[in-house]
Symmetry: C2
Subunit: 203 residues, 2 copies
């Protein structure tokens, strides 16, 4: 069997989804990947190295479903639907998405106590925020930049909260998505209403 390295990374993603980053044991990982512990050390040096590569692996994998609009779905560029999709994409009952969301949650939770984890987290969050703010700008048309960023912050922070609720079984995934959608709509309407020339959204 070739490319055991990838096999190990995929196994690590599954173990992290089951036990968390802090709960990952080298022995359980080796068993999950059907290799020996020593091989894991051979490829990744130590536990920290394995975690580093796994988190990167998960992040790269996530871009597949995060950045690409489904081809042929007729979803217009910069539409409200695209914005909604981007913000509900992490709330799906799929092994890959669950593994990804779990890992991100662990990263966030770990960063509370480990400053070393914060930089990587900050980079990803900033990039994510920028993308959502830009999309909001297109959907809402005109709006001051600070308002756009603030709205994007509220939406991305809400997403993180919803993700935790989903993963702890406190909220069914469909319910979490619904709450997200309502907030997206409300934020967009809020931005539109805040235009210089205020227009009554009801009339």
């Amino acid at each position: 069997m070739k490319d055991r390295k990838r096999v190990i990374l995929e196994a690590a993603a599954r173990v992290i989804a089951r036990r968390g980053v802090r709960g990952l044991r080298m022995e359980e990982l080796a068993a999950e990947a059907h290799v020996s512990k020593a091989l894991v050390y051979y490829h990744f040096g130590d536990r920290a190295g394995l975690l580093h590569h796994t988190l990167r692996f998960i992040g790269d994998r996530a871009q597949r479903y995060t950045r690409h609009r489904p081809p042929g779905s007729g979803e217009p560029d910069g539409s409200l639907r695209e914005l909604e999709r981007r913000l509900t994409q992490e709330l799906q009952e799929t092994p890959e998405v669950r593994e990804n969301s779990t890992a991100w949650g662990e990263l966030r939770a770990g960063a509370v106590f480990d400053p070393a984890l914060r930089e990587g987290l900050r980079e990803a969050s900033t990039e994510w925020l920028r993308e959502i703010a830009e999309l909001l700008g297109r959907v809402a048309q005109t709006a001051p930049d600070t308002a756009l960023v603030a709205a994007a912050e509220r939406l991305t922070v809400l997403l993180e909260g919803l993700s935790t609720r989903w993963l702890t079984g406190a909220l069914p995934v469909a319910h979490a998505r619904e709450l997200m959608r309502v907030s997206v709509t409300a934020e967009v309407e809020g931005l539109r209403a805040a235009r210089p020339r205020a227009v009554c959204p009801v009339g």
Copy 2:
């Protein structure tokens, strides 16, 4: 020195804020409390017992600033200000609040992997949700119950997300509070606008 038990619990709260629930080591706790490890076991049985009592200790302590309106502040019962205060109270740079928020964050993060933690979390969340929904009802006056609950869910979930951002240093506490306040106002306005007899919020 009397009441070493309380000294240990206070030390445990500090250690949890520094290392997390999962990162708490009996040895470090003993050192922090200036007692021996054996004494901790004498008073609390085992690690799980210590954690159980500590979490309860922290929860009880939190009620002091959570449920009581500051006396003589002239804050009317059921006002928008009371609602805002309740939702921004967990976002304060105080040792006590930080310890409390950290512990709750750890509990949430741990519940992703440990179903045993979920029940206690669910109870507290449900109670918290109920209180916020009720306050929202008073502030917004009439509104359908489902809309009230949904709004309360969005606000409480947002609070959890903001708490994590604050504790990871991703968001200054003042900024987090501001985002929360804006959302509270928007939700209240949304509820008012959704009344049977729709009224233009701009006019």
